[in-house]
């Protein structure tokens, strides 16, 4: 276990940062985190859509059941013992509960979290929490495109390394999207090293 401060001081945080600039011309160039893995729970259709999009983006998608023991024991723990390595996913809340706490021991935190709840009406309610640029861009995307899981993969795939102020949004996407075929609650998230924030 190292501290956030030690992590920054040793420069290890830089190892977790990508060096490629954003390819979208309309956005200012910025540094993104390099995701070590994107975690997908094949039990849920939105998670599969998220994983497919992540793979299309060139991210390393990894299927895991809700029980994350094997993922953590064989993969994440050995990797994190070398240094902190960011991960993202669209999973059950229970999987995130475990991964978040395991990540704490390696100076990482949940940097972004979106709770997706299937409502009786067929709509999906999304509660977003994270850096304001990410939340605002994602909320705008959800409002114009029902493929929320794929949009979320886009967002976590370009997650900024230097984060601005935190923001929260709650909104709904309509009935009938491909990504609406699930019951209950899912969460999408990014776990990564704590680094200094900048004011957006």
């Amino acid at each position: 276990m190292s501290t956030r401060r030690q992590f920054i001081q040793t420069g290890a945080a830089l190892a977790a940062l990508g060096t490629t600039s954003d390819s979208i011309a309309s956005e200012p160039a910025q540094v993104h985190i390099n995701l070590y893995k994107v975690i997908v729970d094949a039990t849920f259709a939105p998670s599969l859509a998220f994983g497919e999009r992540a793979a299309w983006l060139g991210l390393a998608a990894h299927a895991s059941p809700s029980d994350v023991t094997s993922l953590w024991y064989h993969d994440l723990h050995p990797r994190w013992m070398r240094s902190a390595a960011p991960i993202a996913g669209l999973t059950s809340p229970e999987s995130l509960f475990c991964l978040e706490r395991l990540a704490w021991d390696h100076s990482m935190r949940v940097l972004f979290k979106a709770t997706h709840t299937a409502l009786p009406s067929g709509e999906i309610q999304h509660s977003l929490m994270g850096p304001r640029p990410v939340v605002e861009r994602l909320a705008a995307g959800y409002e114009r495109d029902p493929r929320w899981a794929s949009l979320t993969a886009d967002a976590v795939g370009r997650f900024p390394a230097m984060r601005g102020r935190s923001s929260r949004r709650i909104l709904r996407t309509p009935v009938g999207s491909v990504d609406s075929r699930f019951e209950g609650t899912l969460v999408s998230w990014v776990i990564g090293p704590v680094v200094e924030t900048v004011r957006a």
Partner: protein, 539 residues
């Protein structure tokens, strides 16, 4: 900056600076972001003013640093709350019992100091988790097993001090009972070793538990008399084989003989693994698929015993069942299973089903394919995924708290306990989680488990806390006591151990005042409060 109750910011800041002088400033935590990690994820006071929170945390790396911290805390009268890995979920997690205490986070003390394969023992620090020790054993190809609770991410020392349990054989599944020797930092910073560890250069610290003179180890379990910085454990040699089998009986009255034979085998050590009496008829077996529509309809009607028995006989659904687990050689486990079939076969109509069979060592591939890992000493996090949303669990909670009174190991006690609580729940209008059936964890006793979900709704949590306390009192009226509980109920449980005008608590308080006169260590833990706080005990 948060401060401990009654302490002004300036002296607290001075103490924090002195802590930093011991452990380094990187290991003293005061920001909200860092202290969030020490909240109880399963707090029954979630979001309420009474939710227990740390004022700061300090993470030492060595016993010497723990000693120095205790001396500073004494000088400034800073309340200290040690945790090992802080994953005691359902029983308080990393949050202090006395809100505002400084958490002494021992996670960095995570060294596996010794594993003795020939004597099947180990010596570890508090930050060593079951996963850590398991990984060490696998990496070094040692012929040893751990015994782990579910989940397995907690600390060996933390779980043992809480008197937690696992799933293998009796000498190992009682984690406190399996310990051999401790190193303890006392509240004044003095260092003590118990058992043979009190003899410099002793060769049998982890082998011979008792040493010489009074056996004081128990003072440091479920208590607040010292900070345990090392602890030894007896480990289980890897057996050649594992075999399980299920006994199924079909009449209500069979419960009594079923439990008697189970107790006989347990006490004879023919079968001494953790198990539970299940009722596939009444409640569904653990991890069982949803019931058939016919059985679901029967349960919904909840008819008389005769109709249940007729359904059991006609549909081959046992009224009661028990999974037996055997460890040894293939021949020995086969002989024990055969012996079990012979003895349980004296129950009219009993049926048997062969279960898993494994020979060891197992490859990693084989380990990953095992569904029920804990009885094989393999740690996992599966328990969390089981709490997820499923057709039979449509509204998963935000955690849980368990009420688990110890009852006699007899069919009569099971019957009485089930009846007492069923009637109470009906009268109180509550419906706790879980199966009201006995678990065999601690030897020669059962415990029942009733669960309450943790909600983020304060009113729901308030009602559940109230029910929990009523259950503690009701259980005590019948002679059943809690074996372990969450901070919210430690005082209520301690109150029930009241023989001779609370003589036990009075003794504990005398000891507390002598060992920790400033009352700085884990105030209130298991109902033991320092003198200056006794009049303002938490609810």
């Amino acid at each position: 900056m948060r401060t401990p109750p009654g302490l002004a910011p300036e002296p607290f800041a001075t103490a924090l600076r002195e802590f930093a002088g011991v452990v380094g400033k990187d290991w003293v935590f005061t920001s909200d972001d860092d202290l969030h990690l020490y909240q109880d994820a399963y707090s029954p006071f979630w979001g309420e003013p009474d939710e227990r929170k740390a004022s700061a945390a300090v993470a030492p790396h060595s016993t010497e640093e723990v000693q120095a911290i205790m001396r500073i805390a004494n000088a400034h009268k800073i309340p200290i709350y040690p945790i090992s890995t802080g994953r005691n979920l359902g029983y308080g997690g990393a949050a202090p019992v006395y809100s505002g205490s400084v958490v002494l986070d021992l996670k960095r003390m995570n060294r596996i100091l010794e594993v003795n394969e020939r004597n099947a023992t180990c010596l570890v620090e508090p930050g060593v988790s079951y996963f850590d020790l398991y990984r060490h054993i696998r990496a070094n190809k040692l012929k040893l097993w751990i015994d782990c609770p579910d989940p397995g991410w907690g600390s060996l020392i933390g779980n043992a001090l809480e008197r937690g349990n696992g799933y293998t054989l009796a000498p190992y599944r009682d984690h406190w009972g399996a310990h051999a020797g401790m190193e303890v930092v006392l509240p004044d910073g003095d260092l003590v070793r118990t058992g043979m560890g009190a003899m410099p250069g002793a060769k049998t610290w982890q082998q011979f538990k008792y040493g010489y003179g009074p056996h004081l180890d128990g003072l440091f379990s479920q208590s607040n008399f010292g900070v345990v910085t090392k602890m030894g454990f007896w480990m289980m040699p890897e057996p050649e084989a594992f075999r399980s089998g299920t006994v199924m009986v079909y009449r209500y009255e069979d419960l009594f003989k079923l439990v008697d034979i189970l107790a006989y085998f347990e006490n004879l050590k023919v079968m001494s693994a953790t198990t539970r009496v299940e009722s596939p008829l009444l409640f569904g077996a653990f991890k069982a698929p949803p019931p058939s529509p016919e059985l679901a309809a029967l349960r919904a009607r909840n008819p008389g015993r005769e109709e249940y028995e007729a359904f059991a006989a006609n549909n081959n659904v046992p009224y009661w069942s028990v999974i037996l687990r055997f460890y040894g050689s293939p021949k020995v486990t086969a002989a024990h299973w055969e012996y079990a079939r012979e003895k349980f076969g004296t129950i009219a109509g009993a049926k048997f089903k062969d279960g898993d069979f494994y020979e060891f060592p197992l490859s990693e591939v084989a380990v990953n394919q095992i569904m029920d890992k804990a009885p094989l000493g393999i740690p996992s996090l599966e328990a969390f995924s089981m709490g997820g949303r499923t057709p039979t669990n449509p509204t998963p909670s935000n955690g849980h708290m368990w009420f688990s009174p110890i009852i006699p190991m007899s069919g009569e006690a099971v019957q009485e306990c089930e009846k007492v609580f069923r009637e109470a729940f009906k009268e109180w209008g509550v419906n706790p989680l879980g199966l009201p059936l006995p678990q065999l964890y601690h030897e020669r006793t059962f415990f029942q488990i009733y669960g309450f979900p943790i909600s983020h709704d304060a009113e729901t949590n308030r009602k559940n806390r109230e029910t929990f306390k009523r259950m503690i009192a009701l259980a005590a009226e019948h002679g059943w006591g809690e074996y372990r509980t969450a901070p919210a109920f430690m005082d209520a449980c301690a109150d029930t151990y009241s023989f001779n005008n609370h003589a036990l608590r009075r003794l504990q308080e005398k000891l507390k005042d002598a060992v920790d006169p400033n009352g700085i260590l884990s105030a209130g833990r298991y109902g033991i409060w320092p003198e200056h706080l006794r009049k303002t005990r938490h609810e």
